[in-house]
């Protein structure tokens, strides 16, 4: 087996290409999906996007869900970069909590979104490419409950992601440490 440290493995100082790719793809997708979702819920019934926008939102969301599940597997396989020694105990604690929270919230957004669209028992078409079948019905008026969760959790995710980004910028510009660089370079 060829071991390419740069491409597949995370080195001790920085994340590997796969980890970085997954991270930035998720970041781009999360903000794009949020924007798309924010815009599409107010579309008029007669808008030409009324059918297409939700279809794309659901399709891309489910694909991102698959990517995220792979990412969770990948992060257990790939070598983690060493914890930066200049980080305080509090920063390490916060970082661990934030990582857990972001993944947890992300999965909740996927689950709630899926439960809205599949609430009537019909499969969800992912870009007319493949279908994701519906789960058995969980609650009465499931689409309303899942919809409310999806709405609030999506805003929470964006809020948490912004805090996460601000923290990275703080490390880069104020602490001038390697925190952000190891996810870019």
């Amino acid at each position: 087996m060829i071991r390419n440290k740069l491409l597949w493995e995370t080195s001790k100082q920085k994340y590997g290409l796969v980890s970085k790719g997954l991270h930035w793809l998720s970041a781009l997708a999360v903000f794009t999906l949020f924007g798309l979702g924010y815009w599409m819920v107010d579309l008029d019934y007669y808008s030409e996007w009324y059918q297409r926008a939700p279809h794309w939102h659901e399709s891309a969301g489910l694909l991102l869900c698959i990517v995220t599940l792979f990412r969770l597997v990948w992060r257990t396989i790939a070598t983690k970069p060493e914890i930066i020694s200049s980080h305080s105990a509090l920063e390490k604690k916060c970082s661990a909590i934030m990582t857990f929270a972001l993944y947890f919230i992300l999965l909740t957004v996927f689950a709630s979104g899926y439960l809205i669209t599949s609430a009537d028992g019909k499969a969800i078409a992912v870009f007319d490419w493949f279908n994701v079948s519906a789960f058995i019905l969980i609650a009465e008026n499931q689409e309303d409950l899942a919809g409310a969760i999806h709405y609030y959790i999506a805003y929470t995710l964006i809020f948490m992601a912004l805090i996460h980004a601000l923290a990275a910028l703080k490390h880069h510009f104020i602490d001038k440490d390697n925190t952000l660089k190891r996810m870019i370079k």
């Binding site: 669209t117 599949s118 609430a119 009537d120 019909k122 689409e143 919809g147």
Partner: protein, 186 residues
């Protein structure tokens, strides 16, 4: 044995007593009743659906039809058109706004006998906080004892409402309501 005789005597005498308006409860428990709707989908086709939860009572006497009364309460959140996203949309504040207006009601005010089992049920229909007079054209389907010791009477009714009358944010024109009601005598 004595008790049985007494009971049957009582039953017989009650059956022979002059008819008076009997009170019925709509058999939603046994689901021998449904409230359906039909609306136009942009002129292409007819979209049909129903309200899964409602309750009601009526009183009816075939010899005194104009004394009949009916009241029905619909749980608006039970709107069901077999499409989760549409149901969610219709329950939202664009239409029914069910978190604010959880119920729609119909209460009859006057019943006209149109002959041949036909009735015109005048009443007030309240939906989305707006009350409008509504006439339900009803037809009696059947009446009599059921095999389980009860007494039943049933009707079909139709009415048409205009969405624009009820102050919804969105208006897709007219909606036909269709009621199939079976009551069990109390």
């Amino acid at each position: 044995m004595k008790k049985l005789l007494l009971a049957s005597a009582l039953l017989t005498s009650s059956a022979l007593m002059p008819a008076f308006a009997a009170d019925y409860v709509i058999d939603t428990k046994g689901a021998h009743a449904s409230i359906n709707f039909k609306a136009s989908h942009m002129g292409f086709s007819v979209l049909a659906g129903r309200f899964n939860k409602f309750s009601g009572n009526f009183s009816y006497d075939k010899d005194n039809i104009t004394a009949a009364k009916i009241s029905v309460t619909i749980d608006t959140s039970s709107f069901d058109s077999n499409h989760a996203k549409r149901d969610k949309h219709v329950r939202s504040d664009d239409f029914l706004d069910v978190s604010k207006y959880a119920q729609a009601t119909f209460v009859s005010t006057k019943v006209e006998d149109k002959g041949n089992g036909k009735l015109a049920i005048n009443g007030n229909f309240t939906m989305h906080g707006v009350t409008k007079p509504l006439v339900i054209n009803a037809v009696k389907v059947g009446e009599g004892s059921d095999p389980w010791g009860g007494y039943r009477a049933g009707f079909n009714g139709t009415a048409t409402i205009a969405m624009g009358d009820f102050g919804f944010k969105k208006d897709f024109g007219k909606v036909d309501l269709e009621l199939h009601i079976e009551g069990i005598r109390k």
